[in-house]
């Protein structure tokens, strides 16, 4: 039996706040039988009556934060993550076609650019970039993420990247898993507190340059110089406001140029480090062979033939910004399926549900960027870890005694 706390969201203003549990305004997707008592309460917003029912955590949302510089909700990481949970994430149907939000069965991905307090013109006037905290409304971000986490739908603003304007809000119903993606998911300490897990995607300058060349070179107006100038001009704000969030992340995916090819500057072959914080609740770091030890592993040899430049793994404990971490590192590329299976079979604590699940997920999205290197591999593994974390949270809350209704 589930018992739920329902607060009328100010924006919903429904006359009947809790009669039908399946009413989608309240964000509940299953029919639930529950007992409730009506409590007279004067709320800040002046309504004198609200019904209150204490909630079991089944309707509580798990919140994941992802810090990345590459735009919102369209990143490969998001697509891999939502795929682990099943289904593809799509923009909300029937709403603003320029919405940044993605919705699948289990997950909703929100773009934090939607919390810009200044639109493109406003930022120009004030002389601040989008990276600057001054351009973002952290109070609103905190309020709304908190509300969603508690099972309350919100009317979230939309930042339109095409026009550079703030569009009218869209309704976001609380999902099972809420992912907040953007430049500042871990910037505000109150928002940080709400995150059940956080990831920082740390792309080195050389790789960033190579990726942006691939992205922009076909565009009229761009040249190597303009791409370089754009990265350099944004770097001071990036280093001041975005980069420091690394220290708060439960997992950092660091993308660097390979060490296998001397002087490789094409960013083709990558060295990727998965830095996992120790002691995070419900998160057990992946390891190679012997947990807590230090290992250097080249899988290519007699049993496995790899093509140039091969694959090299490293695993070991380290300290990262004062925290104990475990680092799993992959340098090189997968060229064949059997290389991937071989590697998967030697990793432990993957949180897979069956042998070969990592490989299967990678194959499912073989056309995604990074499918042949550590970025795809570690993004997939983190996706499985998040699934595991989610299931553990749900299980732990179901086991907890039901809270008494508030008098």
């Amino acid at each position: 039996m589930a018992m739920c706390t329902v607060y009328t969201a100010h924006s919903l203003n429904s006359s009947c706040s809790i009669s039908t549990p399946t009413k989608t305004q309240l964000g509940f997707h299953q029919k639930q039988v529950f007992f409730y008592s009506t409590v007279k309460k004067t709320s800040r917003r002046g309504s004198s009556n609200s019904s209150e029912i204490t909630c079991s955590a089944e309707s509580k949302t798990v919140v994941i934060g992802l810090a990345a510089d590459s735009g919102c909700g369209k990143s490969t990481f998001m697509r891999r993550l939502t795929s682990v949970f099943g289904g593809a994430a799509e923009p909300p149907k029937g709403g603003n076609p320029d919405s940044n939000t993605l919705i699948s069965d289990m997950t909703t991905v929100i773009c934090l650019d939607d919390y810009h307090s200044l639109d493109r013109t406003g930022r120009k006037e004030k002389g601040v970039t989008a990276l600057d905290p001054k351009a973002n409304n952290f109070d609103l971000m905190y309020e709304q993420v908190k509300a969603l986490k508690e099972g309350i739908a919100v009317e979230k603003p939309i930042y339109n990247h095409v026009t550079g304007l703030l569009d009218p809000p869209e309704l976001i119903k609380p999902p099972k898993i809420l992912v907040i993606e953007g430049l500042h998911p871990m910037f505000d300490p109150r928002v940080r507190e709400l995150l059940d897990f956080s990831i920082y995607l740390d792309i080195s300058n050389e790789v960033k340059f190579a990726w942006k060349i691939q992205r922009d070179m076909a565009e009229r107006g761009h040249s190597l110089e303009s791409i370089k100038a754009s990265i350099e001009a944004r770097k001071p704000d990036f280093d001041a406001y975005i980069d420091p969030q690394k220290q708060y992340a439960d997992a950092v995916i660091e993308v660097l140029p390979t060490q296998l090819i001397p002087d490789d500057n094409e960013g083709k072959v990558l060295r990727v480090r998965l830095i996992m914080k120790e002691g995070v609740k419900f998160f057990s770091p992946v390891y190679l062979f012997d947990e807590g030890s230090t290992i250097s592993w080249i899988p290519c040899g007699r049993k496995l033939t790899c093509s140039y430049p091969g694959i090299k793994f490293f695993y070991g404990p380290e300290t990262y910004y004062g925290h104990e971490v475990s680092v799993l590192e992959m340098d090189g590329q997968f060229d064949r399926l059997d290389e991937l299976i071989y590697v998967e079979s030697h990793l432990s604590n993957l949180s897979t549900k069956f042998y070969g699940e990592v490989t299967q997920q990678m194959l499912k999205h073989a056309d995604f960027p990074g499918s042949n290197n550590g970025t795809g591999l570690f993004q997939t593994i983190i996706g499985l870890k998040i699934r595991d974390l989610f299931e553990q949270i749900v299980a732990s809350k179901a086991a907890a005694p039901l809270e008494a209704t508030k008098a």
Partner: protein, 106 residues
């Protein structure tokens, strides 16, 4: 670079970095967004180059390049969405009569 792109583009043969042949917009609204973003990129790059001539460390300079980044990413996102289907597909199913939803004909 070529093998990476081949993997990315599902075996379609492409030379260099050109991906113009990838996907075509179906609705007028999408075609207009594409055109707008393309023009914005050109315009914003020029603006940034001019603004930064004076002082490369000025606020105006970094804001100008930040705008370039924003529109470049927006264009890339649109291109990527187009690979699957026109992003206005579902909107236009519900609103076929709007100007944005006129079928774009070459």
């Amino acid at each position: 670079m070529a093998s990476f792109l081949a993997l990315k583009c599902r075996g379609r043969k492409i030379g260099g970095l050109s991906i113009k042949a990838m996907a075509v917009s179906k609705f007028k609204g999408t075609q207009m967004r594409e055109k707008h973003l393309t023009e914005m990129i050109e315009k914003k790059v020029q603006e940034a180059q001019q603004v930064c001539e004076g002082d490369q460390t000025s606020d105006e300079c970094k804001v100008a390049w930040d705008e370039v980044e924003e529109v470049s990413q927006a264009k890339a996102d649109l291109r990527r969405k187009l690979e699957k289907q026109d992003p206005l597909e579902s909107f236009c199913q519900d609103n076929p009569e709007t100007d944005e939803c006129r079928i774009y004909e070459d």
